[in-house]
C-alpha cells in the first residue's frame, strides 16, 4: 500500500506536462483509488480533493479559500501530541522548499473530536521552466496499523514488566547469541550490566565450571542450547562478578522458535544456588566432623585393646583378629561416608574384605582365586554394616581353614537381585572349593552367631551355611 501511494504522487507530478492542467482538473480515476489525495496551488490554496480525503478530514474544505490553506483538516498534531499549525504542515514545507516529503506521519483531528493517524506523501508540481505551481498530497489512514503497533508494544511492555517482576534471573538472546533482554535479577546475579545487542551468550563477567576451571562464554550452557538448538538441563556453573564475588547457579537455557520452527533466539533462567551450596558445605563439614570423631574413637578402642593385651598372657593372633574385625567395621563406615551415609556398594565392600588376601605381593598364586560375580548393588547402612561383618568372618575362616588357606583353592562370591512380590531381595552365594577337606566346626563361633542372628533377625533375611567336605557353602537372602 505504502509503495502504491508513494509512487503515485510523482507519477501525478510527471503527468503534469501541462502542469496547470493537473491543478485545474484532477484525473477522474482518483475517486476509484483506495487513498486520499488533494492538491494545493503555490500559495497553499486547496484546488481539489477526493472523497477519501473528505472521509479522513471529517469535513469538506472550501476550494480556493485563502482562509484554509495547506490542508483540509480541522486540526493537526505531531505524533508527540503537540499541535501542528496549518502553516507548519508537511504541505506548507513542500511549497516553501520545493522538495518532496515522503512518509511523514501526522494526527488529524476531525470536527467531531475523533482522531486518525495519516501517513503523507507530497510532491511539488513544477512547470516546464521549473517554477513551482503547487503540490499533490497522497495520504492514507494508518490508525489501525498504529493501534496494532501500540498493542504489540503494550504487550511487549507487559511481558517485560512480568519478566522484570520475577525474582529469577532471566535473559534472552537472538539466534546469534547476542543478548536482547535481561531483567534486574539477572543484572544483580551478574553484578554488572551487559551491552544489549553486543554481549554474547551470557551476561556474566566471567564464568567457571563447578570444578573451578574457567568456562569460555561461547561454551556455556546457553551457547550449547543455541548452537545445538536444544534445551540444556542439569548443568551448573559459577558466575564471577567484577568485584570478584562468585555465584554458583543452575541455568535453564531453552531455544525459542518461530511459527515455522526456525530458531530465533533463546531464553535462559539462572537460579542462584548459593544458599543450597552453603547448606551442602555445612552438612559436609558436620559429616566430616562426625566421621573424624567416630574414627578417632575406633582408633582409641584399638589402642585400648592393644594396651590391655600387651604384657598379658594372650596368644599372638588375638590382637590381630580383634583389629581385623574393628578395621572391617571401620572400612564399611568409609564406604557409607563417601555416599553421605545413604548407601554402600557391595562389590566395594567385598574388595576391601579380600584386600589382605589379594594384594599380598608374596602370594601371586592367589590371583584369580577370588571371584566376585554380580551386578552393582547399593546397600543401605544397616545391611551394609551387618553383611560386611558376616562376610569378613567368612573370609577370615576361609583364609585360616578353607579354600584361601591352601594353593589351588578357589572362592566364588556371586550375588543377584531378585524382584519379588514383597520387594527386592538380594541373594548372595559363597562357594569355596579346592581347599583342605572341611570339617564341621566343634563350636559355634562369632561368625556363625552373626550369620544367624544378624542376617535372619536383624535384616529379616535367611542364611544357610553348610560345611561340605569339598568346600564351605553359604547362601544368604535379605531384602534390599
Amino acid at each position: 500500500m505504502n509503495q502504491v501511494v508513494s509512487s503515485l504522487s510523482p507519477a501525478l507530478a510527471e503527468y503534469a506536462n501541462d502542469a496547470s492542467r493537473v491543478l485545474d482538473a484532477p484525473p477522474r480515476f482518483l475517486e476509484l483509488l483506495p487513498i486520499a489525495i488533494y492538491a494545493c496551488d503555490a500559495d497553499g490554496r486547496i484546488r481539489w480533493f477526493n472523497r477519501r480525503a473528505v472521509t479522513l478530514w471529517g469535513r469538506t474544505p472550501r476550494v480556493g479559500d485563502d482562509e484554509e490553506r495547506f490542508c483540509g483538516s480541522y486540526k493537526l498534531y505531531h505524533l508527540s501530541g503537540h499541535p501542528m499549525p496549518h502553516a507548519e504542515t508537511p504541505m506548507a514545507h513542500v511549497l516553501k522548499t520545493g522538495t518532496s516529503v515522503d512518509g511523514k506521519e501526522v494526527t488529524i483531528e476531525r470536527p467531531d473530536g475523533s482522531r486518525a493517524t495519516a501517513m503523507v506523501h507530497i510532491d511539488p508540481i513544477h512547470d516546464a521552466d521549473g517554477h513551482l505551481l503547487g503540490a499533490v498530497n497522497c495520504f492514507h489512514d494508518i490508525t489501525e496499523v498504529k493501534r496494532a503497533e501500540e498493542k504489540l508494544r503494550e504487550s511487549e511492555r507487559r511481558f517485560r514488566g512480568l519478566l522484570e517482576a520475577l525474582p529469577a534471573a532471566i535473559y534472552t538472546t537472538d539466534a546469534a547469541g547476542r543478548i536482547t533482554f535481561y531483567n534486574e535479577a539477572a543484572a544483580e546475579l551478574w553484578g554488572h550490566r551487559p551491552e544489549l545487542g553486543e554481549s554474547e551468550w551470557c551476561g556474566s563477567w566471567r564464568l567457571y565450571s563447578p570444578d573451578g576451571r574457567p568456562m569460555p562464554h561461547d561454551e556455556c550452557p546457553m551457547a550449547v542450547a543455541l548452537k545445538e538448538n536444544r534445551s540444556v538441563r542439569g548443568e551448573e556453573a559459577i558466575a564471577e562478578r567484577p568485584d570478584g564475588a562468585r555465584v554458583p547457579f543452575i541455568p535453564y537455557p531453552t531455544p525459542l522458535r518461530d511459527a515455522t520452527g526456525m530458531l530465533v533466539g533463546a531464553v535462559n533462567m539462572l537460579v542462584d544456588i548459593t544458599d543450597r551450596k552453603r547448606a551442602e558445605e555445612r552438612q559436609k563439614a558436620l559429616l566430616d566432623e562426625l566421621n573424624h570423631r567416630v574414627k578417632n574413637t575406633l582408633a582409641t578402642v584399638q589402642s585400648l585393646a592393644s594396651q590391655t593385651i600387651r604384657g598379658a598372657d594372650v596368644p599372638k593372633g588375638v590382637r590381630e583378629a580383634f583389629e581385623r574385625r574393628l578395621l572391617a567395621l571401620s572400612r564399611t563406615h568409609d564406604h557409607l561416608t563417601r555416599a553421605r551415609w545413604e548407601s554402600a556398594d557391595l562389590e566395594a565392600i567385598l574388595h576391601d574384605i579380600f584386600a589382605p588376601y589379594q594384594g599380598d605381593a608374596g602370594r601371586n598364586e592367589t590371583e584369580g582365586r577370588i571371584r566376585l560375580e554380580g551386578e552393582p548393588v547399593k546397600l543401605k547402612p544397616k545391611p551394609a554394616l551387618t553383611l560386611a561383618m558376616v562376610l569378613h568372618e567368612l573370609a577370615t575362616n576361609a583364609a585360616k581353614y578353607g579354600s584361601l588357606s591352601a594353593s589351588g583353592g578357589v572362592l566364588t562370591v556371586s550375588w543377584v537381585v531378585i524382584d519379588g512380590e514383597a520387594g527386592c531381595g538380594l541373594r548372595i552365594e559363597w562357594q569355596e572349593s579346592g581347599g583342605p577337606a572341611v570339617k564341621q566346626p566343634q563350636r559355634r563361633g562369632f561368625g556363625s552367631r552373626l550369620l544367624e542372628r544378624g542376617i535372619t533377625k536383624e535384616l529379616k533375611g535367611s542364611a544357610q551355611i553348610s560345611f561340605d567336605p569339598a568346600g564351605v557353602r553359604c547362601c544368604m537372602e535379605m531384602p534390599v
Binding site: 584399638q302 589402642s303 578395621l327
Partner: protein
C-alpha cells in the same frame, strides 16, 4: 604375612593430639623397628621440635583439635622431610595442595602404616 619393613633404626615424628591414639602409633612404630619416636600434640610443639631435631619421616594427624596440621606439613616439605597423613576423614578431607601425599585412614592396621612409610621413604 607382613613384608620386611624399612622402618628399622629410623627417627620418626608423630603428631597426634589424642594421647591414647598416640600410644598406639608409637607402639606400632616401635614394633616396626623405629629407633626413636618423637611426639608432638599440636602445631606449636611440632614446629619447636623441628627447630632442634631432624626426623627421617613424620606421621601427621590432620585434625589437631582446634587446628590443622598443614603448617607442620609445609615446614617438613621445606626441610625435605617425607611425611604421611593419618586422618579420620580419609583422602576426601585433604585440600588439593596436599592431596598427592600418602593418607592412611584411622583406624589402621600396622601393615597399612608400614606400607605408607615404605612408600614415602622409597621416593
Amino acid at each position: 604375612m607382613s613384608e620386611p619393613l624399612s622402618a628399622d633404626g629410623l627417627k620418626i615424628l608423630v603428631v597426634e593430639d589424642e594421647t591414647i591414639i598416640s600410644f598406639l602409633i608409637e607402639d606400632m612404630l616401635q614394633e616396626l623397628g623405629c629407633a626413636v619416636v618423637w611426639h608432638a600434640g599440636d602445631v606449636r610443639e611440632a614446629l619447636a621440635l623441628l627447630r632442634d631435631r631432624r626426623p627421617d619421616v613424620a606421621v601427621l594427624d590432620v585434625n589437631l583439635g582446634r587446628e590443622l596440621a598443614y603448617p607442620i606439613a609445609a615446614q617438613l616439605d621445606a626441610a625435605r622431610i617425607p611425611f604421611i597423613f593419618a586422618t579420620g576423614y580419609g583422602r576426601d578431607g585433604i585440600p588439593d595442595e596436599w592431596a598427592s601425599r600418602p593418607v592412611i585412614q584411622k583406624p589402621f592396621a600396622i601393615e597399612t602404616l608400614a606400607a605408607a612409610l615404605d612408600s614415602v621413604l622409597r621416593t
